[in-house]
Every structure is written in C-alpha cells, then in structure tokens.
C-alpha cells in the first residue's frame, strides 16, 4: 500500500504536458523534438529511454571479462617477466602480506564495478515497475553509483603512472598489460550507463495521475 504523501504526490512538469530542456531549462511541451530556445534534442517521450543505459551497461560488462582474464600489469625484473591479472595481483599482494592494498585493489577493481553493474540493472528494472523500493533509496543509490563509478579508474591510473615511472631498463620495468585498456573501457562504459540513466524515471513510477 502506498502512502499518500502530499509532498511527494502532486503535479509534475510532465503531468502538465511539459518537459524541461536539459540544456537551457526552457519548458517545452511534450512531443517536441527539439528545444524551442536552444535547439537541443529532447526525448520525444519526455524521459530518456533506459535503452541507452542497457546498451552502455552491456558494453561495459563485456569488456569487463577480458579485463579480468588478461594481465593488467607486466613487471619485468632482471630480465624475468611476471604478468599478473587484477585478481592474481591482489592474491600476490595478500601472499606478500599487503592486505590493505589488496583490499583497496579488490574493492576498486572488483567490488565496485560489479556493484555498479548490479545497481544499474536494479535501477533499470525498478523504473520498469519491477520491484518495490523507496524512491529516495533508489535515488541515493543512483547518486552513489554515479559518484563512485569514476574511482574505479584508479586502477588504470595506477597502471599508467607506474608504467611511466618504473622504466629502469633491465633492472625493473612495468608495462601495462592487455587488460588495462579493457578495464578502462569497461569503467568508462559503466559511467556512461550511469549517466544515461534518467533519475526522473525513479519518480515517474509513482505516477502523477
């Protein structure tokens, strides 16, 4: 049973047949293709479709697979090369006793991306009317996802910086592995998916009518 909260219930722009241009803020009637002021494209239905979210999400998930199968970092020391994947590197760190760093790596590279995939899927399903959840909770989740998603790039940044710094020839050198670009793409596509999500859809399901 939904509680009827007068602050939440009530007229919205859409219920008035208007949508706001996301670029210049002009209220345009629903159905217009472009903004009458700035000419920016407007979603014909007044809300952005979740198709884009799904598309970006799938792309990100696909790239996440090779990102975990290929080595992230190739370290060569005295001529002997050691290639390690993301999880393998974390396990190596645990073996060496660096639990904190291992946790950071695991969280940033494994927990966060997977949580993001799950969160976005859940949000998309939620706005389709599946599942019960507080719209406030959904919005908080969405904000967290959008905020934290970029931090997954820390892995890629670390690899890039180390590969640039640790170039001591025969003694030691680090090179980014094949997984690095895949991981970067995966994170980027997930961020695109988060951005493509229209948070107003969370509220639209409450219905204005």
């Amino acid at each position: 049973m939904r509680t009827r909260d007068p602050h939440i219930e009530g007229p919205t722009a859409l219920s008035s047949g208007l949508i706001g241009c996301e670029i210049c803020g002009r209220a345009v009637s629903v159905g217009a293709e472009t903004c009458t002021r700035c000419g920016g494209r407007l979603p014909r239905s007044g809300r952005r479709s979740t198709d884009a979210v799904w598309a970006w999400l799938f792309a990100g998930m696909i790239f996440y697979i090779p990102a975990n199968l290929y080595p992230m970092l190739i370290a060569s020391q005295f001529g002997s090369e050691q290639a390690s994947t993301i999880v393998g590197g974390a396990i190596d760190l645990i073996d060496h006793g660096s639990y904190a760093i291992a946790v950071i790596v695991l969280v940033a590279s494994v927990v966060i991306p997977i949580t993001k995939f799950a969160a976005i899927i859940w949000l998309c399903l939620l706005v389709r009317g599946r599942g019960e959840a507080s719209s406030h909770r959904a919005l908080q989740l969405y904000e967290v996802v959008e905020f934290i998603g970029r931090w997954s790039m820390i892995d890629v940044f670390v690899v890039a910086i180390l590969a640039a710094l640790v170039q001591m020839g025969f003694l030691a050198s680090l090179q980014p592995g094949a997984a690095a670009p895949f991981f970067a793409l995966s994170v980027a596509f997930t961020m695109m998916a988060a951005r493509a999500f229209d948070p107003r859809l969370i509220w639209d399901r409450l219905g204005g009518h």
Partner: protein, 781 residues
C-alpha cells in the same frame, strides 16, 4: 481579476518508442571487438608440446621461455610430473609460426650458466633465470608432441653445414664431449656426444665435421686419438707425442684419408673406428671389440718380466695380435704357480675375414698341429721388452689347442730361449773372458825367464871373451909380415892361372863345362819332374826341424869349446911358422903349376870332364835320377824316423827339466839369481855393445819404453777424453731434450750415448788401474 485557469494540460501521450535505438551499436561493437580479440588470441596460440626433463631446476611455469636463435618462441605453461614420477614434463606453448618446424629432429636443452673447457656459457641466465633453447632445421615435418631434453647443449646448431659421423672406440679414453677433431692439425670438427653402445662393447662418439672438410671423409678415412701426451714404451722402443693444449684438457681425435682417393664420400652417420694412436691407424692394427678377436691363453714357463699388455704378437714377423692380459694362476693339479698370458689374435691380420673368430681358431689349431708354438722373445735389446712370437718349434702331431670350458682356449708354448737372448749381449763378453790371457802371460813370463837364464849362463858369458881372444890371435896372425907377401905370390899364381886358362885346352874345358851345365840343367829338369825337388824340400824341412831342435842350446857350449880350442890352436907357436909354410906351399904350388905335367892337366881334366859328361849321360839314361829321388825319400824317412822325433821330444823334456831345475832352486834364490842374470846381461850388453844383437835389444827396449810412455800418456789423456765424452754426452742429452722429444731414433741415440759413457767410465777405471799397478797389465793380476 480573472482567475486564469491554467490551460488544460495537453493530452500527453507517453509514446513507447518501438524503434531500436542506435545506442545498441555500442555493445554490439564491443562484443564484436571482444570476440575478435578472443579469436585472434586463440589463433595466435600455437600448439602445446611436452618436453621431458629430469628435474625442473630453474624452470617456472608461465615464465620460462623457449628460445630459438635467442628469440622467444614459446613459454612453459605448466610443469607437471611424468606418469611414473621419474621426470618432469614441461608443457610448452609454442608460437604458431615456428610450430610446423618443430618436428622429430628438434632438440631442446636447458641453458644454464656453465663453465667448461670450451669457455663460459649461459652467463646471462645467472640473473634472468634459465631458459629452454630449441634447435630444429628449416624443413617442416610431422609434428611431434613430446621431446626429451638433452643433457648437454648440442655443440653444433642444426643448420651448420657439415656432416655427422660416428666413431667407435674400445673405451672412452680421454675424449670428452666437445673435444676437437683435427685434420692435419687443423680443427675441423667436434665430438658432440659420447655414449656406450647398446651391447656395452664399445664407446660411440657422434662427431660433427664442418663443411667443407666433411668431403674428406671417405671409406678409407681413419680416425685416431690424439689426446694429450702419448707416451709409449714397449717392445718397439719409446715414443712420445704431444698434442695441442686443448687436446691435453679435453682429448681430441684426428683423421686422415689414407688412400688419397677423395672421390667417394661417405653418407651421414657412417661409423668409423677410433684407433688409439696414429701408428695404429696407419698400420690398421686394431680390433675394437674383444668379441671379434680370438683370445688364447698361453702359459709360459719362467718369468714374463718385460712382457707388457698391448705388446705385439707376431707370426713370421707380422703382427697378428696383441697381449691383452697377464695374470697369475695357481695350477691346482700340479700345485704350482703359473703365469697366464692372454693374447688376442685378429682374424683380419691372419688373413681371414673380419670377425671370423671360429676360422681363426681352426687356423691356429692347424698351425699348432704343424708345430707352431708361442714363445717369448726379445723385442728390444735396449729396453729388454718381450714380445710373444708364434714360432715353429714344437713337435708335429696332435698337440692342438686345448679348448676349455668357460675359459679361453689354451695355446701351447715352448720355453723362452733367453740364454740365446742373453748370449747376444753377453756372448761377446764371455768369449773375451774365455781367451787364455793368463796362460799367454804365463808363457811369456816363462819365455822371458828362460831367455834370462840362457843369457845369464856362464857359457854365454864366456863367449864374447873367447871370441875376442880368437879375433886377437887372428889379428896377430894377419899382421905377420910373411902374410904381406902372399898377395904378390897370389898375383903371380893368378897370372900363371890366366896363362893356363888362356890355353886352348882350358877353353875346350870351358866349352865342355857349358855342355855339362846344360846337361845338368836337363838333369835338374828331370829331377824336378820326378819330384826330387819336393822330396828334397821335405828332407830339408825335416833337417831344419832338427836343426831348430832345442838341443841347439848345447851348440853354444860346443861353440864356446870350439872357440876355446881355436884360440888355443891359434895361440900355438906353431902357427907362427904357418905363413912361411904357406909361402912355401904357394911356391911349391907355383912350381907345380909351372911343371909341364901340370900343363898337361887341362887336357886330362877335359878328358875327365868328358868322362863325367858321359857319366851324366849314363845317369840320364839309366834312371839314376829316380834312384836319387828314392835316396832322398829314404833320407827323408830317416829324418822323419820316430827315434829322431823321440830325440826331439827328449830334448824338449830335457829343456823342460832344465826349466824345472831353473825354477826349483827356491824362491829365495830367485831374486838374487835374477839380479845376477840382470848384471850378467848388463855385462853381456856392454861387451857386445857394438854387436847388432845389443843394438837390436836396446832398440827393442827403447821401443818398449816408448810404448809404455805412450800408454802412460794415453792413460793420462784418458780422463780428459772421458770428460769431453761426458760433456759431449751431456750436451747431446741437452740437445735431445731441447729438440723434439720423441722418435725412436732419439731414444736409441740417448741409450747409445749412455752406453758410450759407461764404456768410457770403464776405460777410465782400467786406465787408473794400469796407472796404479802397471805390472797387473802384464801379469794379468
């Protein structure tokens, strides 16, 4: 104020877009990209091969690389145990571009840091870790999935031009893997592997000969070992060869094409025999495998000292085998010690087919049935080394080779002729030793003593005095004035003789004499024809023998007596009248010659000669010559009569008795009598100083003295000579040491020089002995 009512909200229709958004291209492209990456990754994965190793030392799964020409062509993906846990299997992912070439000829080995005689290799793996190196040729073949890793890296990479052949040796010797192969002392290849053959009878080496030298390998090529120092000291003398420094460390082999025909080149993998030495290779005496040789046991009587393993076995001067074993054995039946010598005969050297051991055995049986036996003989006079010789010396018959269960057949032997052997060296010494030097010296000493006694006898001493007295008397006689007239008388006599001779009658007599002489010549010819001369010669020889009889010693005494008598006679006063009487005689002779009767004498003489001539004619005709020959023969018989010989013997006995008598009077008298003899000899010398005898004796003594001086000088010079000989020997030693150490000639020269030095020392010792005690040289003590 109008309450503007908001315009009615337009009819909003949330149209569901049925159109598929373009945004879906992104995941599609992503999928495509990912799939293409996976596909290319899959395509770029080569096949997995398995390399089997004894241990995985230094290998790491996922890290250890496979390199070909130092380029990574694969990586060890997994290390696992072999099924039977006796090895490690490395699964290697090969790169697809080289995978087709990794066929059955591919070899793999682990590159580790290694320090060997060839140098240091694999140093980079100290830091980077080991890797597996692979080598294969550039031909695609049937892919093979599993390989054995090599213990040692191959020394020659597969694409090096050249040829691999095999050499077999009786044992591994000093050859090690990596040892060089020489051709005319130039390195042309290397030994790659060394292993026992399957049956364990020989050692086989894989040898790689670099192109273009591999074209020199023909069926007639022979390989021999040149490892390090080859020093042999056997029946053939001493020889030494030193190879290169590398071959000292690692060994080495050399080959040469003996036939000189290089048109036939052997195939890859041809098997050669490795001979122990160059000489063996050139003589082709060898026998690699004991199974292909006929082994015989020979039991020699006596010592086998000097016989060495490897020593030759000869038959009719040809080397047919070698000694392979010398051992002691207790003969349980006879309960005595026996030396068993094992000899190996090469069927090929016996002129039979290679490896025909049975044929060789039956051949040897035939030989022994024909009396051939094994015998130890001297192989080298200097070293005293012995060799085994198969020699014709036993009895003919069924004494064949005894075949024994579980042991080598036994070959009969004959005793060593070591006496003859030693005789060759010692015989000369023995013969020198056997010379009757002592007796000779004894005889010489006795001769001298007898001469002494003869010279020192009273009769001899009186002889010069008597002779002098006789001469004196003769001089007195000659200085008589009456004698001075004799020449005149004689002259007159000669003149009258001349007159007589000039007379016709005398001339006729001369003519008759000439005829007589020619007749005499004819007679002498006849005599000669009748061997009268020979008979006479024999008679004269017998006569001479008698005259030379020792009894002549008495002659001196009688001569002495005659001389005394003569002296007495000459000193008789009656002799003083002699000249006058001679004169008178001559005068009367003249008167006689002047007498008409004498004048008639020539006619009568002529008549007498004529009668003599007719007599000679009678001789000739009446065979008187033969009678004379008979008479001479009888005379000879008379001379050869045993009684005469007995007389000589008796005389000799008498002389011997005399000698005994001379020796008998006691040793104490001897020096005194010797002194007396010497003084009397001196007296005699003085007295007959003018005589030739004294002069000759003096000359002889002077010569003896000179000879002694020469001997002494020689003895004095001997040490210097010896020193110079010694230094020469030492210099020769040095020279030999500095020059190539090696040939048999050198060794024998050294030995000869040492012997010369020893001989010089012996001469030196002898000289010193003579110097200290010269009489020893003469007296033989």
């Amino acid at each position: 104020m109008t309450d503007p009512t908001p315009p009615p909200p337009p009819k909003v229709e949330l149209v569901k877009s049925r159109r598929v958004s373009l945004i879906w291209l992104i995941p599609l492209i992503s999928v495509g990209l990912a799939l293409s990456l996976l596909w290319s990754e899959y395509r770029s994965r080569g096949p997995v091969i398995e390399i089997r190793l004894a241990t995985a030392s230094g290998l790491k799964a996922g890290e250890t690389a496979i390199r070909y020409r130092d380029v990574e062509v694969g990586r060890v993906e997994e290390l696992s145990f072999a099924e039977d846990l006796d090895g490690v299997i490395a699964s290697v992912r090969m790169s697809p571009e080289v995978a087709p070439y990794v066929d059955d000829d591919a070899t793999f080995w682990v590159v580790r840091p290694e320090v060997s005689a060839q140098g240091i290799s694999g140093l980079e793996t100290v830091i980077s870790g080991v890797y597996i190196a692979g080598d294969w040729d550039a031909e695609k073949g049937v892919r093979q999935a599993s390989f054995e890793v090599l213990d040692q890296p191959p020394l020659t990479s597969s694409d090096t031009p050249g040829k691999r052949v095999k050499i077999r040796a009786a044992d591994g010797g000093s050859l090690s893997v990596g040892a060089p192969i020489f051709f005319r002392r130039v390195e042309v290849g290397r030994i790659e592997t060394k292993r026992l053959t399957a049956d364990g009878d020989a050692v086989e080496f894989d040898v790689f000969i670099n192109a273009p030298h591999d074209q020199r390998l023909t069926p007639d090529t022979r390989f021999w070992n040149v490892s390090g120092v080859d020093f042999s000291f056997g029946a053939e003398g001493a020889r030494m060869r030193v190879g290169s420094l590398v071959s000292l460390l690692q060994g080495g082999a050399a080959f040469e094409n003996l036939s000189g025909d290089t048109s036939t080149v052997v195939e890859k993998g041809h098997v050669y025999i490795l001979y122990p030495t160059e000489r063996d290779a050139r003589e082709k005496t060898l026998e690699i495998d004991p199974g292909k040789l006929l082994l015989l046991d020979v039991y020699f009587e006596g010592s086998v000292r000097g016989l060495s393993i490897g020593g030759p076995v000869e038959y009719q001067g040809i080397r047919v085998g070698r000694v392979t074993g010398i051992a002691a054995e207790i003969d349980p039946a006879a309960s005595r010690f026996a030396t068993r010598t094992t000899i190996a005969l090469s069927p090929q050297r016996l002129g039979l087919a290679d490896e025909d051991v049975e044929g060789a055995l039956s051949f040897m049986k035939r030989l022994t049935a024909n009396g051939v036996r094994a015998q130890l003989t001297s192989g080298n006079l200097f070293t005293g080394a012995l060799i085994v010789r198969l020699i014709q010396g036993g009895a003919l018959g069924p004494d064949e080779i005894e075949e024994r269960e579980g042991r080598n057949p036994r070959m009969p032997s004959i005793p060593t002729d070591l006496d003859e052997l030693a005789g060759s060296v010692e015989g000369v010494l023995r013969r020198v030793d056997a010379l009757p030097i002592e007796e000779l010296l004894d005889n010489a000493v006795q001769l001298l003593a007898n001469t002494n006694a003869l010279i020192g006898s009273d009769g001899t001493r009186a002889l010069p005095g008597n002779a002098a007295a006789a001469l004196e008397a003769l001089q007195v006689l000659l200085s008589d004035p009456a004698l001075a007239r004799v020449p005149g008388e004689v002259e007159t006599l000669v003149a009258s003789l001349n007159t007589t001779i000039d007379s016709e009658a005398v001339q006729g007599t001369v003519r008759d004499l000439a005829v007589l002489a020619s007749d005499a010549a004819a007679l002498s010819t006849a005599l000669r024809e009748n061997d009268v001369a020979a008979e006479t010669a024999a008679a004269i020889a017998a006569l001479r023998a008698r005259l030379e009889d020792p009894a002549l010693g008495q002659l001196v005494v009688s001569l002495d007596q005659t001389a005394s008598a003569l002296t007495t006679l000459l000193s008789n006063p009656a002799w003083a009248d002699a000249p006058a009487e001679v004169n008178a005689t001559l005068a009367s002779l003249r008167a006689i010659l002047d007498d008409p009767g004498t004048r008639a004498a020539p006619e009568e003489l002529a008549a007498a000669i004529g009668a003599a001539r007719s007599l000679l004619d009678d001789f000739k005709t009446a065979g008187t010559a033969i009678e004379i020959a008979a008479a001479a023969s009888a005379a000879r018989e008379l001379l050869a009569d045993p009684s005469l010989r007995r007389l000589s013997t008796e005389t000799a006995d008498a002389a011997a008795a005399l000698r005994t008598l001379l020796a008998a009077p006691g040793a104490e008298d001897l020096p005194a009598s010797a002194a007396r003899a010497m003084s009397s000899a001196a007296l005699l010398m003085d007295e007959i100083a003018a005589k030739d005898l004294a002069g000759a004796t003096a000359d002889a003594l002077a010569e003896i003295e000179g000879a002694t001086a020469a001997v002494r000088a020689a003895a004095a010079a001997a040490p210097a000579l010896i020193r110079s000989l010694t230094s020469t020997a030492e210099r020769a030693d040095d020279l030999l040491a500095s020059v190539q150490v090696g040939s048999e000639l050198n060794y024998e020269t050294v030995t000869a020089i040492r012997e010369i030095r020893d001989a010089a020392r012996a001469v030196s010792d002898l000289a010193q002995l003579v110097e200290r005690n010269p009489s020893a040289f003469i007296l033989g003590k």
